[in-house]
Amino acid sequence: MALRFEVLGRFNRARAAQLTLPHFACQTPLFMPVGTQGTIKGLTTDQLEEIGCQIILGNTYHLALRPTSELIDELGGLHKFMNWPRALLTDSGGFQMVSLLHLADITEKGVTFQSPVDGKPMLLTPEESIQIQNRIGADIIMALDDVVRTTITGPRIEEAMYRTLRWVDRCIAAHKRPHEQNLFGIVQGGLDPVLRDICVRGLVDRNLPGYAIGGLAGGEDKDSFWRVVAQCTAALPEDKPRYVMGVGYPLDIVVCSALGADMYDCVYPTRTARFGTALVPEGVLKLKHNAMVNDTRPIDPTCACMVCKNYTRAYIHCLVTKDAMGSQLLSYHNLYYMLQLSRNLHSSIVEGRFPECYIIPDSNLCASRNSNVVRFLWQFPKGDVPEWVCNAMDVAGIDISSCCSS
């Protein structure tokens, strides 16, 4: 165990905590930008520190291909290689199993991929995944899990869940640096509450430093999604971090935090930036749209980031259609937006005002206490808040009826 997790405040199931890792003391709930290949697309590590990024995710699969984990190890680990002084998390490479399934063969031994670089078969075993992650040196490493798409039904899901538990034991045995790197287990089981329960209990028995809720964010309907998160957060230990992998949209993060989750990662903010889309309190703003041509306002007048302080929508509109700098500026803003969301979640829970700032659009409380509050339900000005959000918030014990027209 190489972390400390201290809950600083609660609101019903939601918690705000300090997660102290070897390289950085983080505040949760937190969002982790995805730096797949050892970089967040187009942003320098200075800029990432500037916007308050606490922990970045690197991908074992990609880094093992290029530049290889041996090279990273030789040069002192990923922190040193990319010059990032704060925390890092690597995933196991398992998610690629789902994305590249047509090329993968999953057996009890591990997963065979076809290398996209030279076509050679690559075998990723739990042991190999942990060895690679040991070399990369991240503060948090993920156990190799047997990931199955939530849109699949049948015995495959049960097989994958039990295999995940067997593989976690192999991961634990292979882990050479438990005092420097925290191995998180991943809860699988598809959308089946019975399977999820078995998996949670199995992982908790292994007494890991932290737990992730995996196998979601893959196209399942939102109603099933929140129920799995709710079930897992209810069953996982109070005193350990809970990481919902692959989530996501600001709305999803707020709901999951209300249900008791602490950590998130998603490519969405940076990917959508590269398509010219900015995140704003009202939802999204498409900078490529013709309406932006003459718009001299910043992306978000309430945003304090460098981009909103220095550039107009009109200027960014010009760039996004022609130059990489457009994506870079939008990535900066979008990440700032997500990180500010995390900070607001943390402080609003600690200060006991979590519901007000998120639920009541016109609250003077919000305006005076926190000018950068993400008024996420402003995305639904007509009060047409999705049913899944209403149901989830109900379970979370948060009254949002004032925002719903129905």
Partner: protein, 219 residues
């Protein structure tokens, strides 16, 4: 409505036309001179006389700007002829190609830098960070460079970024190349102020030619 207007001087590779154009523009009411049509195929040898044909016929009190001279030796030719402002896409092309400027800015005597001959496109001016020889090189592009890139990152990291086609590679290279190139211009200004520009130019050009000669011998 406000703003300075510069007069354009053209004339191709024809000394007489250059002279005539410069003389005509010089009597117009402009705030400076934009010298066009260079860097389009004229040789290093013929350029100085063409440049002088222009600048000899321009008043000393107004700025002269030139487009198309980017290589350090070309810039030195422009400075020698009395040009003040330079505009080119040299840095852009270096960055896009994965190159980083490394030529010494220090005007004191420096020992020979042992460049790997296996580098593709590397010489004493610049290195190609795509080259595999940099895969594990944990040193900055230029050892005592104080740009953001050299203060924070290694050749190995930039090599990796280039290999995986990450945008950050170009950002880091552009920062360094711009910084280095502007440092070159600072050296030029200092040399002029100290009255030893001619010497500076000679030494600079000579050191590059020596290196190329050395390469030929050792191959």
């Amino acid at each position: 409505a406000g703003g300075a207007v510069f007069g354009s001087i053209v004339g191709g590779s024809n000394i007489e036309e250059r002279k005539r154009c410069a003389q005509e523009v010089a009597v117009r009411n402009v705030s400076g001179y934009w010298i066009g049509g260079f860097g389009l195929g004229e040789s290093m040898e013929e350029r100085p006389s063409l440049l002088n044909a222009v600048t000899d016929n321009l008043p000393k009190d107004w700025p002269r700007m030139i487009c198309g001279l980017g290589l350090p030796e070309e810039v030195l030719q422009g400075v020698a002829a009395g040009v003040d402002l330079f505009d080119s896409a040299y840095i852009y092309h270096l960055t896009i190609g994965g190159f980083a400027l490394t030529f010494p800015l220090d005007r004191t005597e420096k020992n020979d830098y042992n460049y790997q001959l296996s580098d593709q496109g590397s010489d004493r001016t610049k290195i190609n960070l795509r080259a595999t020889v940099y895969r594990k090189d944990a040193t900055p592009i230029v050892e005592d460079c104080c740009c953001y890139t050299c203060q924070n990152h290694t050749k190995a990291y930039i090599n990796h970024l280039l290999n995986v086609h990450e945008m950050l590679a170009q950002i880091l290279l552009e920062i360094h190349n711009t910084h280095h190139y502007l440092g070159f211009f600072r050296s030029i200004r200092e040399a002029i102020k100290e009255g030893c520009f001619e010497q500076f130019q000679k030494k600079f050009v000579q050191s590059r030619r020596e290196h190329l000669a050395a390469d030929v011998v050792s191959v």
